[in-house]
Each structure stands twice: as C-alpha cells, then as structure tokens.
Symmetry: D2
Subunit: 140 residues, 4 copies
C-alpha cells in the first residue's frame, strides 16, 4: 500500500525535483515505506576514471527516499531534507543505477531513510545513504 | 600559494565535473587548502517552496572541496570522494550561492574537507558539509 | 567463517577497547563480515527521560563493526575508525541493546560498515550507524 | 551571555550525562551559543597505538554541543541528539582534549552544532563533529 500513486509522485517530481526529470530518473515501484528508482545509463553521468558523478547519485537517492517517505505520509509537499550522508563504495559500470530506499524511522516531526544504490550490470553496492527529513507540524 | 592555478583547475573541471560546468559554477579563489566557488543564481535551482535543490548544493560543495584539496596536492586526477555529509540549515534567497571550502586534514591516504555555503544576499549559512577523499598511493 | 575466533576478539578488546569491557558488552556471534554484540541492561546507561546515553550506543556500534571487520581481515590491530555517523531513531526500553553489524565494503585501504541497534524487549530499531575504517597498507 | 550558568549546566549534567561526570569532563566556558569543555588526560582514554577511544571523544563532543545549545535555549531538558557525525583527523598526544562547540543553526524544532576537538599539547585538530538536536515543541 502507498498513500500516493506512482503517477501522483511523478507529477509532484516534475514540479519539485526538476533535477530528477532532467536526469531521466524513473520511479519503478512504490510501496508502504519503500521505493525503487532507476537512473537509465547516460555517458554524461560518468567522470573520466569511470566514477559516476556524486551529484547524480545524490539526486537519485534523494528522490528515492522522498518517494518512500510520501508513500507513508501522503502528499506533504513541504517535507524537506535536513541532513544527507552518503558513502561511495565502489565504481559503477556503464549501466543503469538502481536506488532502493526504505524509511527506517517515521516520527511526527522527523523521518529517517536509508538507500542502497547498485549498478545494474554487476549488482554490486555502489553507494549507501542515510538521510533525515523534517515533516511540517500540520501534516501529522 | 596553490599547487595548481585557477585556469588549470577549470580545465580539469571541464573534463571531470560536467555537472559543475552545466550548472555555471565559478571558481573565485584558490589558495593553499582553501577554495571559494560561486553558483550564480538560476531560477531552475529553486524548488517550489523556495528550497534550492539538494544536488545543486552538493555539486557545489563537492567542487569547492575538490579544488581546495588539489590546491594542496596538485593535479592528482584520481582523488575520489569517499563520503559526503551535508546539513541543510536554512532556505537560501533568490541569490547566488557561495561555497567556502577548507581542508581540515591532509593525510597520505585520506583528506577531509569542510564547506560552508552561504546565500549571497543575506550572508546566512545555508548548508554545512564535511567530506572525505581517498588519495591514490602513488601521488604522495 | 571468520578470520579470528570470538576468544581472540575478546582478548584484543580487553587490550584495545577498555570502554567495551567496562560497559559489559558481550560478543555473541562472529561470522564472515558480520558480528552481533549485546549490551546487557544497566540502569546507569539511562538518562532521565529514558534515553540511553549516546556514547554507550556509539561504543557498542564501534565494537560491533570492528569485530565484523576483523572477521574478514584477521588480527589487524591498527585498523582505525576514520568516520562515524549515527542516527538515533527511537528510545530504547529498560532492556539489553543488541548491535548487528555488517561490512558493506572491504577495499584494500578502506572498509565501510553498517550497524543496526535494537532494544531487545521491543525489537524496535533504536539507532542506525555507518562508519569507515582505514586499513594499514601492510596488512592487505 | 548565556541562558544558563556553568553551575546550572554542571548540575544538569550530573543528572543527565553520568558518562561526562565519570570521565572527568570540565565545562570551561559557556557563552551565547558556544561552549568549551576539557577532558583532563587519563591513561585509560588511550588505546594501544595511541588512539583515544572514540566513545570518549563522542561523549566530550556531545556534552559540548549540548551545553552550547542550552546556552541559547535555556534549561530545556528534553532536547535530544538525533544524529551525530564525527571525523577522526589525527592522533591526540598524551594530553588533555579540548572541545570547542558552536551552534550553527537554531530553528524552532531543530538545532545543528559543530565541534572541533584539539589535543592541548600540540593544538592540532583531532576530530571534527556535526550533530543535530530535536527541540521539544513546547520549549520554543
């Protein structure tokens, strides 16, 4: 179950996360407190040396946690990221990135999410994220 | 003093950080272990509600620390971000963002940097970042 | 499989982590890249208001990841914590804390671990940790 | 100016942070949004290899930020740490540790603090911390 549909989420994203739209991110699944977002491979994501640019992974993870959060609390537009911590673990291949996000705490005022990003060709863990979100008081 | 010039750094960035180029970031100063990078205001940076998109600030901070680091170790192309922690502190205005980065540890294998991002119109602190970089063994 | 035994680990801890010994932490299991450490309940762990003191949870998580790491790389005494990030998620009960740690990246020079801490009476997630360790060059 | 005195803070600490008392931490100064806390050297703080145990530094930093926060908001007993990020930068000497904390954001519901920990003999940066605190609604 999700408090919002994939279509509603994508509509919100077009308004609120233009970076996600420009980057071609696709919301693949959305269930109660979990979301999977895919970043189809673009050569422009890669740096020389083969690393995917950090901001792309950050934008992808941010989208995935935000979707996972809204699947629990519904269309609360003003939930904002308050902190974001990412560990880069290995170089991705020339392949799609897949972000799998879950909400590990949902309080009245604060939510915490966790994301694993894998490279689709090798299925290895490319990055791990934890992030916190502030939920506006009147949305509880 | 810096081990690299602003021109060298900008040339490296065109190759390695296309995100920074597309976003219009400008390296304003580069001294031993410190760098200042400006993000000239674009309405596309803003989300409804007035928040600057997280990935923009992350990309800006990443550029600033990377420049600060190379000002100390020279043109080491393979220094990679291993972790990145950002706290979002207040909403920026419709104004340029300025990232002021410093290296707080430079070890043989690991460097740690810190960035403050301020909104140019109000001079208030918008975000605070700490990030770690891995330095390849043969560059010491 | 583990590169070291629980008895070897406990002996190392007595030398290296006196905090863990004084706090009564018990290493319950140690397998390839995973470790479970229990903190038997003490009233002295609690603050008024019912929160477990942060340093206790940090010490517990640090022990668990360190054990998980050594189960992979063996008795490398000089692996040191380089960064540590903890999110406090909910108040624990008056009960044992259990830390379940895994290594999510093992590179030649850097390892990253993740820990979930639960309160034994409720089985709810009390804290989530990611931490990075530097591995000395000659131990590879 | 501080909303509370050093004597009031120390009294609160005796109740709420027994770890700080047992560790011998001393609150040296407390001004509007800043606090300095000293950890007089104890050989029991050291690990073999010369590293100060992580939990000691975490406990010290937590105390310093908490004091800095209360110097701004007064005796709000239920402000709790929600996240804590520490980077270990260099080994301290056999000397006192000094934590210098400041509040970099004070919102209605969330505060963010930053701490630098130095080793008193060398005056070098040993660790850097950022941490967030949740402020209960009725204390604003």
């Amino acid at each position: 179950m999700s408090e919002i549909s994939i279509v509603q989420m994508e509509s919100l994203i077009r308004e609120q996360l233009p970076f996600a739209v420009e980057s071609g991110f696709i919301l693949e699944s959305l269930a109660d407190g979990r979301a999977v977002v895919r970043a189809p491979y673009r050569s422009s994501f890669l740096r020389p040396g083969g690393t995917i640019a950090g901001p792309v992974m950050m934008g992808l993870a941010d989208y995935a946690i935000y979707a996972a959060l809204l699947s629990r609390i519904g269309l609360v537009e003003l939930a904002v990221t308050t902190s974001f911590n990412i560990n880069f673990l290995s170089r991705p291949g020339e392949a799609d990135l897949i972000a799998d996000a879950g909400i590990i705490k949902l309080g009245k005022r604060l939510a915490v999410g966790e994301v694993e990003i894998v490279s689709a060709d090798r299925n290895n863990l490319v990055a791990h994220v934890t992030a916190t979100y502030s939920i506006p008081p009147d949305s509880a």
